[in-house]
């Protein structure tokens, strides 16, 4: 979508000069993606909402410092989100972890609401395992599956090469498979 990208450049230029309406357009475009990322990293809607607001507040305050050095604006936003989520985890590391059962079920795009009401034990177990992975691997899985990004796009966000992302992804899958084996669990075909 070259036209959209071109528009985004213009919007970014205006937003960096303090035009709030232009920033509002960027907000509309990215808010759901950032919310999704934070939601899967925190595991609850309340903190996801709070942290998403902080991501955009921080972006708004620093957008005049944003310079396009081949890194897309979305990557810049995800990095802000990543830093805020990391701080959030650091602050909470001394406190009790939220049980996964408290994770409110939000409707997935394209799914019937009723389908989301019954989250299977498999998904619970898998989510629990994902949340125990190192932060970088969680990021990778969220960006790949939730945000549907390519390895190259993920690389630009994580500051790694495409090959490094591919390799990390493979190691993450192997680690998850080993965890499943350790827990004597078997994934069944759908």
């Amino acid at each position: 979508m070259p036209e959209l990208e071109y528009n985004e450049e213009e919007i970014l230029a205006r937003a960096s000069q303090g035009d709030r309406d232009s920033f509002g357009q960027l907000y509309e475009r990215y808010v759901e993606r950032i919310f999704n990322y934070v939601y899967y990293r925190t595991g609850n809607t309340h903190d996801a909402e709070d942290l998403t607001a902080r991501v955009f507040q921080r972006a708004m305050n620093h957008i005049k410092n944003y310079t396009d050095r081949g890194v897309p604006f979305s990557a810049w936003l995800y990095r802000i989100a990543h830093n805020l989520v990391a701080n959030w985890h650091r602050d909470r590391s001394r406190k009790q972890e939220i049980p996964l059962d408290d994770l409110p079920i939000l409707p997935a795009r394209g799914d019937h609401p009723e389908k989301n009401l019954v989250r299977s034990q498999e998904q619970d177990a898998l989510l629990r395992m994902i949340r125990k992975l190192p932060s970088e691997r969680q990021n990778l899985l969220i960006l790949k599956f939730v945000e549907n990004m390519s390895n190259a796009e993920i690389g630009s966000i994580m500051g790694r090469s495409e090959g490094a992302v591919k390799s990390l992804y493979h190691r993450t899958l192997l680690a998850l498979r080993d965890q499943l084996e350790d827990q004597n669990l078997n994934l069944e075909g759908e």
Binding site: V31, R58, L141, N184
Partner: protein, 91 residues
């Protein structure tokens, strides 16, 4: 997920895992209220922004200069008024 019975090859295991990850990590849609609430929050000046404004020394200097000038003008006017009304009383 059931107790493990080894029926798949390692490649099949990985493919199955990827399929389950795709089924588990689905994009969610926050409610319209959440989006609107967030929009409201980012439009308000936050604490960082207010602090930033206060640390803007040039603006502070202009504001301080303006307040002092205004006060001096008020004192001068008050003194002139007092002087004029005082003279009138003496006459």
């Amino acid at each position: 997920m059931t107790k493990r019975k080894k029926t798949h090859t390692p490649e099949e295991d990985i493919q199955l895992l990827e399929a389950h990850l795709a089924g588990t990590l689905k994009p969610v849609t926050p409610s319209r209220e959440v989006i609107q609430r967030l929009r409201g929050r980012i439009q308000m000046p936050n604490r960082e922004e207010i602090t930033l404004r206060l640390t803007d020394w040039r603006r502070l200097f202009i504001v301080f200069g303006g307040v002092v000038s205004g006060m001096l003008l008020l004192i001068t006017l008050a003194r002139a008024f007092y002087y004029l009304t005082g003279r009138k009383d003496m006459m």
